[in-house]
C-alpha cells in the first residue's frame, strides 16, 4: 500500500471512531430528553414530592441540589485554590511534592460510594453532624477537591514563565505576581474547570445517600434565618438531592407515577448539567476577553 492509501484508511478509521462516540452521546441524551422533557411542567418544578400519590414535583430536590452545590463550592474552592497555587507556584521539585501530587491523583480515582461511606462514618456518626447538607457538602468536597486542585494547578502552569519574570523584574513580590498577574491569566481555565466540576457535583448520588440523606423535609422558603430548623437555608437539615431522588424513586418508591417522575427528573438533571457546560465555555471566553482587554 502506498502512503496515500494508508492515509485515507487511517482517516476513515478515525472518522468512524469519532462518529461512534457522537452517536452514543446523542443516543443517550436523546433518549433521556425524549422521555423526560414532555413531563416537565411548571407544576412539576415547583411542587413538593409526593410519597404515595401521583402528581408530585421536585421543588425541594432541585433546590437542595443547587444549595448543596453552592455550599460545596464555598468549601472546596478556597482549599483547591490554595493547594493549586502551592503546587504550581511554590512547591519545590522534590519527592514531597511528588507525594502530594500522587496522593491527589489517588484521591481523584476514589469511588464516590466509598467517599460517601467514609463521610457517613466520620461526619454523620463520629462528628455527630447527622444526615445534613453540611455532611454532604464536606463529603462532596472530598470527592471534588482532587480534580479541582489538579485543574487549578494545570491552569496556573499554563501561564508562561515569561509573565512571572515580567512581574518579578518590576519589583513585584511572588505573591503579588501570582495573584495579580498569573491568576487572572489563568482564570478562564480555572472557571471552566470549576463549572465542569459543578456539573459532576450536581449529578452525584452515591456520595450523598449516606451523608445528606434521602429525605426532603418540608421547609419554609420564606424563613431566611439560617439557624431555624424549618429554614430552607439551614445546613444542618437532611436534604435529598435530585440525583438521589432519581435513585430512590426507581428503587423504593410506591408512587404510581414513579417512572414519569424519574424520567422527568433525569431530563432536568441533564439539562442543568448541559447549561453548566455551555455556560462554562461562554463565561470562560467572555472573562478571557474582559481580562485581556481584547475587544
Amino acid at each position: 500500500m502506498n502512503a496515500k492509501k494508508i492515509d485515507h484508511l487511517a482517516t476513515g478509521v478515525i472518522y468512524t471512531l469519532v462518529i461512534s462516540v457522537i452517536v452514543i452521546l446523542i443516543a443517550i441524551l436523546g433518549y433521556i430528553l425524549f422521555n423526560g422533557v414532555p413531563d416537565i411542567s411548571w407544576h412539576f418544578l415547583t411542587s413538593a414530592a409526593q410519597s404515595f400519590s401521583a402528581g408530585g414535583g421536585i421543588r425541594d430536590q432541585l433546590f437542595n441540589s443547587l444549595y448543596l452545590l453552592i455550599l460545596t463550592i464555598i468549601v472546596s474552592l478556597p482549599i483547591g485554590l490554595g493547594a493549586g497555587i502551592y503546587l504550581s507556584e511554590y512547591a519545590p521539585n522534590n519527592w514531597t511534592t511528588e507525594l502530594i501530587r500522587t496522593s491527589v491523583e489517588v484521591l481523584s480515582s476514589l469511588p464516590s460510594v466509598v467517599v460517601g461511606l467514609f463521610g457517613y462514618l466520620l461526619f454523620v456518626i463520629k462528628l455527630n453532624l447527622g444526615f445534613s447538607i453540611l455532611s454532604g457538602a464536606i463529603a462532596l468536597t472530598f470527592f471534588n477537591l482532587p480534580l479541582l486542585t489538579r485543574n487549578i494547578e494545570e491552569s496556573l502552569r499554563g501561564v508562561p514563565d515569561l509573565q512571572r519574570e515580567a512581574g518579578m523584574s518590576l519589583g513585584l513580590s511572588s505573591w503579588k505576581t501570582t495573584t495579580k498577574i498569573v491568576l487572572p491569566a489563568a482564570l478562564p481555565g480555572i472557571l471552566t474547570g470549576l463549572i465542569l466540576s459543578a456539573g459532576r457535583i450536581f449529578g452525584e448520588a452515591a456520595a450523598l445517600i449516606y451523608t445528606a440523606g434521602q429525605s426532603a423535609p418540608t421547609v419554609d422558603y420564606t424563613n431566611w434565618n439560617i439557624f431555624s430548623t424549618t429554614s430552607f437555608l439551614n445546613p444542618m437539615r437532611p436534604a435529598e438531592t435530585l440525583a438521589v431522588h432519581i435513585w430512590k424513586v426507581n428503587t423504593e418508591s410506591v408512587t404510581p407515577d414513579a417512572h414519569l417522575i424519574s424520567s422527568a427528573s433525569s431530563a432536568v438533571l441533564i439539562i442543568v448539567i448541559l447549561i453548566f457546560n455551555l455556560g462554562a465555555r461562554f463565561l470562560g471566553n467572555k472573562l478571557y476577553n474582559k481580562i485581556t482587554a481584547s475587544k
Binding site: 519574570e165 518590576l170 519589583g171 485581556t292 482587554a293
Partner: protein, 264 residues
C-alpha cells in the same frame, strides 16, 4: 572548538562615574560553575554590550545584576550599586528591581490593556495620583517611541500589538518605574529588522537618562549602539574595553577570533 587560555584577560579601567560594578562574581548552577570571577565596572549613562557565543554565560551574568537568578542559581561575590552590595541576602530584592529594570528576549506584556501594563507596577509601588500615573504613562510610551502608535488605543489589549510594539511596550513598562539602570537580554533577537532598528534608536535616546547593559548575539548591533563591550567566553570575561577598541583593536586572541568570525 579552539582551546584558549581562559585566565588571561584584558579589563579596562572605567574612569567615568560608575553605575554598577561586580566584584569577584561567581555563579553556580548546582555543581556547575557558570561564571568565574567577574570583575566589571559599568559606566553611567552609557550603553555596555555583553557579547559572546551561546552558552558563554552572558545572560546568566546579566540576570545576576537585578537578582533574577535568586532561586535559580547560587551567586557569590559582590554587586555594588550606590555603595551597597545588592547581592547581600539582607537586601530587599523587590526594591533592587525597582532601581534596576529588565527587558527580556521575548516580549512578555501582561494579558492586560496597554495602559494597565504600564501603570500596574506603578500602582503596586504606591503611586496612586491620577495625574502622576497619566504623566508617567505618556512619558514612558514616548521614550519608548510607542506613544504615536498607541495613544488612541490605550485600553486595547497589549496582546494585540505586533512583536516589535510589544517589546517597546515592555521597555516603556520598565522605564515607567524610573529605574537607574536598564538590563536588556537580547531584546531584539525575536524581532524583524525594522522593529530592531526602532528599538536601537530608542536605546540611543534612553541612554541620556539611563545606564544600559545589553546582551546581544548580534555583533553589528553591539558595535552600532554600545559604548563599551565585554566579551565572555565559557563563563570568563576575556576582554572589556571601549566598543571601538574591542572591534578594531582587540587585545586578546579569543576576542579577535570572535569578532572576526574565526571562532570555534
Amino acid at each position: 572548538m579552539k582551546e584558549y587560555n581562559l585566565t588571561d584577560s584584558y579589563i579596562t579601567d572605567i574612569t567615568e562615574k560608575k553605575a554598577l560594578s561586580t566584584d569577584n562574581l561567581q555563579v553556580y548552577y548546582g555543581d556547575n560553575h557558570a561564571i568565574f570571577d567577574a570583575n566589571l565596572n559599568f559606566p553611567r549613562y552609557k550603553i555596555t554590550a555583553l557579547i559572546g557565543a551561546s552558552g558563554c554565560g552572558k545572560s546568566t551574568f546579566l540576570r545576576c545584576l537585578n537578582r533574577m537568578n535568586d532561586k535559580v542559581a547560587r551567586v557569590d561575590g559582590e554587586i555594588m550599586y550606590r555603595n551597597t552590595d545588592i547581592n547581600s541576602s539582607k537586601i530587599n530584592v523587590y526594591e533592587v528591581r525597582k532601581h534596576i529594570g529588565m527587558v527580556f528576549q521575548r516580549p512578555n506584556p501582561f494579558a492586560k490593556s496597554i495602559k494597565e501594563n504600564i501603570i500596574f507596577a506603578l500602582k503596586n509601588a504606591g503611586i496612586n495620583q491620577k495625574d502622576e500615573l497619566e504623566e508617567r504613562l505618556e512619558q514612558s510610551l514616548k521614550s519608548a517611541a510607542l506613544w504615536d502608535e498607541v495613544k488612541d488605543n490605550l485600553n486595547k489589549s497589549a496582546l494585540a500589538l505586533s512583536g516589535g510594539q510589544q517589546q517597546r511596550l515592555c521597555i516603556a513598562r520598565s522605564i515607567a518605574m524610573k529605574p537607574d539602570i536598564l538590563l536588556l537580554d537580547e531584546p531584539a533577537s525575536a524581532l524583524d529588522p525594522i522593529s530592531t532598528s526602532k528599538i536601537e534608536e530608542t536605546l540611543q535616546t534612553l541612554k541620556k537618562d539611563y545606564s544600559i547593559i545589553i546582551v546581544t548575539h548580534n555583533l553589528q548591533q553591539a558595535s552600532r549602539i554600545s559604548d563599551y563591550t565585554a566579551f565572555l567566553h565559557l563563563g570568563h570575561i576575556i576582554e572589556y574595553n571601549s566598543t571601538v577598541n574591542v572591534f578594531t583593536h582587540p587585545k586578546m586572541r579569543p576576542t579577535e577570533d570572535y569578532v572576526s568570525g574565526n571562532f570555534g
